[in-house]
């Protein structure tokens, strides 16, 4: 059953434009007098938009959006900042009206665009639970029956009758999320609320989210930048870019589209540099994940990867080796890999550096390449290459990002 049907949806906003300033006294006086009239026009126009609006200050946050959501689907909405994700959620949750188009929704909607909406610092935790719960569309009776569970989940039992202004920010967020977690709508709309609290609580939240979304054929629309969470929670996805739907449907396709756009780079960052000197001629550097050549440097961290360097030795005599310096984007050297020191013949050579699986993390690496002859660098390229790790769908309830620049899989022994 189609539970949400979106047709030709567009939304325009007015954005402020720089006002003209006059540089003569007369002009300044006239513009001072005219100012209220202009202000009035500007304010009135805030609510005066239609499909034909073409003024310079009109910005289309969404343009001709069409999609359908099946009942029980968990849809991930992804896109860069400013792509229109939040606007779409705001229209779906009836906070703002579309400029064109229409939406049909067959079910009770609850939206969580933030946690703790309407929390009043002067009221106690108990009072705020009721206030926030009713704001989210629950009835008092409903909250009465879930109250103990909410308090239990939040872990603030001791302070439930203390004004919220005396809470730590963490406690406030936990209570707020707890209220939201016990909503039982047919359609749940969630915007990045997971990015709250400490790691432990985030884990709890994501686990709860999974429970909510998997229970009783509930439909969930989920906006997030956390691809690990999206991958593990969602079944299908929508990729938005500049207000348009760029990819829709299969989650992996949608996520790949997102990553390709996010860092639309090549493995070799600078192709215009001189790769030849009197000693050496670099013919090619390429990158393989498994057996597949990867041009954009994106690899899956659970597969072995190969950096292949092909060069002609023009005049090198004596000890030779290649150093690869793996750096973080902020310029910190994480580790360096050196090839064995060898004497090499004049002519063509191929060096393969194999990075084992389960060693790198899902972060971006910059790699500097250095060719060394008798302990002297003969050719050196700073941050010539870039690769980015992608994490495969994860098993388990913890969906946050693993900290660290590498993520080795060491051996464990049990019960020896």
């Amino acid at each position: 059953m189609k539970i949400i049907k979106v047709e030709n949806l567009s939304k325009a906003y007015r954005i402020g434009l720089k006002e003209k300033r006059s540089d003569t006294l007369g002009g300044a006086i006239t513009s001072f007098i005219k100012k209220p009239i202009n202000n009035f026009k500007r304010l009135r126009n805030l609510s005066n938009l239609n499909e034909k609006s073409k003024d310079a200050d009109v910005f289309w946050a969404l343009k001709d959006i069409n999609f359908e959501v099946e009942q029980g689907d968990i849809l991930g909405i992804i896109g860069k900042n400013g792509a229109g994700k939040s606007t779409l959620l705001k229209i779906l949750s009836r906070i703002t009206e579309p400029t064109t188009g229409q939406i049909e929704i067959n079910g009770r909607v609850a939206s969580l665009l933030e946690v703790g909406t309407g929390f009043n610092p002067e009221l106690t935790g108990r009072e705020n639970t009721y206030l926030n719960g009713t704001i989210l569309g629950m009835r008092k009776k409903e909250i009465d029956s879930k109250f103990d569970a909410i308090v239990d989940f939040s872990g603030v039992e001791k302070f439930i009758d203390t004004p919220v202004k005396r809470y730590s920010s963490g406690m406030r967020v936990r209570l707020a999320f707890a209220v939201a977690a016990f909503l039982e709508p047919e359609i749940l709309i969630i915007d990045e609320v997971l990015a709250v609290g400490d790691a432990e609580f985030q884990k709890k939240c994501l686990g709860k989210m999974q429970d909510i979304s998997q229970g009783e054929g509930r439909t969930v629309l989920f906006v997030s930048h956390n691809m690990t969470a999206v991958r593990s929670l969602c079944k299908s996805g929508i990729y938005l870019e500049n207000g348009y739907v760029k990819e829709n449907g299969n989650l992996e396709h949608v996520i790949n589209k997102y990553f390709n756009v996010l860092t639309d780079t090549n493995f070799i960052l600078n192709k215009n540099i001189e790769l030849e000197n009197e000693y050496i001629f670099i013919k090619n550097i390429s990158y393989y994940s498994g057996n597949k050549q990867i041009n954009n440097g994106k690899f899956e961290i659970d597969k072995p990867n190969t950096i292949k360097i092909e060069f002609d030795n023009k005049s090198i005599r004596g000890n030779f080796n290649i150093n690869l310096l793996f750096n973080s984007p902020d310029g910190y050297n994480i580790f360096t890999v050196c090839s064995p020191v060898k004497n090499i013949d004049i002519g063509y050579h191929q060096y393969n550096c194999i990075i084992p699986e389960n060693f790198l993390n899902d972060v971006v690496y910059y790699i500097s390449v250095m060719f060394v002859n008798n302990a002297n660098p003969i050719l050196n390229f700073d941050n010539l290459l870039t690769i980015e790790g992608l994490e495969p769908p994860r098993v388990g309830s913890w969906l946050g990002k693993f900290p660290g620049l590498i993520k080795p899989k060491f051996q464990w022994n049990y019960n020896l």
């Binding site: 304010l43 009206e97 064109t100 206030l131």
Partner: protein, 278 residues
């Protein structure tokens, strides 16, 4: 649970009030009112005494300035009682006007994040300010006892006055809150105009002054300003010496209903923009 099918479409201009949905959210209204009442005097020393202090001091000053210095007539009623009977409904109205007018601006952090019937926002202060109103009635009782005035059967009409007060306050609340969210001038305008509106209403002088000076027609015309009907009938409710001013009441009620209906229509037609213009 209310209607499960929702249709969102652009440019819907029809006036429609979803009573089923508002009914679903009645608990929210309750907690919004509860919040307003509990929070207002939190961390204050005098607490709810403020609800008494404000009208009491206004009455004392009016008695001194208008009753003693200017010697304004009070239809034979002791001036303190006379002016207190004007000040109490006036205080309710002006407090509601200010709170309701800025209610949308104050709630913008909520309604830009969650959907609920927007109409609850300006209604909330109309209800929550009734608490101050009720508390201030206690000084009235003390005054009546002190001056030996016993209310009569007119007291039965008290709900009628309350109704007129609520309709008037909500009507202005709809208009001003919806305008203020787009044009902040309205917010400044309200605080500037409320003291002036007080002198337009028969708070410190009796409406009989108008009747005697300009005649009956002008007196009835004066009733178009709903505060006239409110204050005059409020006085009649507590003072047995005045008969209930039915004509004035009905004129004021009609005009208040007009403000209420047009305000509600204006509010519901513009509410879809609130999140965009806030």
């Amino acid at each position: 649970m209310y209607d499960n099918k929702i249709l969102i479409s652009a440019g819907n201009k029809k006036f429609k009030l979803n009573f089923k949905e508002i009914w679903h959210y009645k608990d929210l209204l309750y907690f919004l009112v509860y919040r307003d009442i509990t929070v207002i005097y939190k961390q204050s020393i005098l607490g709810f005494s403020w609800a008494i202090i404000q009208p009491l001091f206004s009455t004392l000053i009016f008695t001194f300035v208008f009753g003693n210095l200017a010697n304004i007539s009070s239809d034979g009623i002791p001036y303190p009682v006379f002016s207190l009977l004007g000040v109490i409904p006036w205080t309710y109205f002006s407090a509601t006007l200010n709170a309701s007018g800025s209610s949308l601006i104050g709630a913008s952090s909520i309604f830009t994040k969650v959907y609920f019937p927007r109409v609850l926002i300006p209604i909330t202060p109309v209800i929550s300010k009734l608490s101050d109103f009720t508390i201030s009635l206690s000084i009235l009782i003390i005054f009546l006892i002190y001056f030996g005035i016993a209310p009569g059967l007119n007291l039965l009409f008290f709900p009628l006055v309350l109704l007129l007060m609520i309709i008037t306050a909500s009507g202005f609340g709809f208009w001003f809150s919806a305008l203020a969210i787009q044009y902040r001038d309205v917010k400044f305008g309200i605080s500037f105009i409320t003291p002036l509106l007080m002198y337009l209403a028969p708070v410190v002088y009796p409406s009989s002054l108008i009747l005697n000076k300009f005649g009956y027609d002008v007196y009835l015309l004066y009733g178009i300003y709903p505060l006239t009907g409110i204050i005059d009938s409020f006085r009649a409710v507590f003072l047995n010496s005045i008969s209930f001013p039915w004509e004035l009441y009905l004129i004021s009620l009609t005009s208040a209903l007009l403000v209420f209906m047009t305000g509600l229509i204006f509010y519901t037609k513009t509410e879809k923009y609130f999140a965009d213009v806030a």
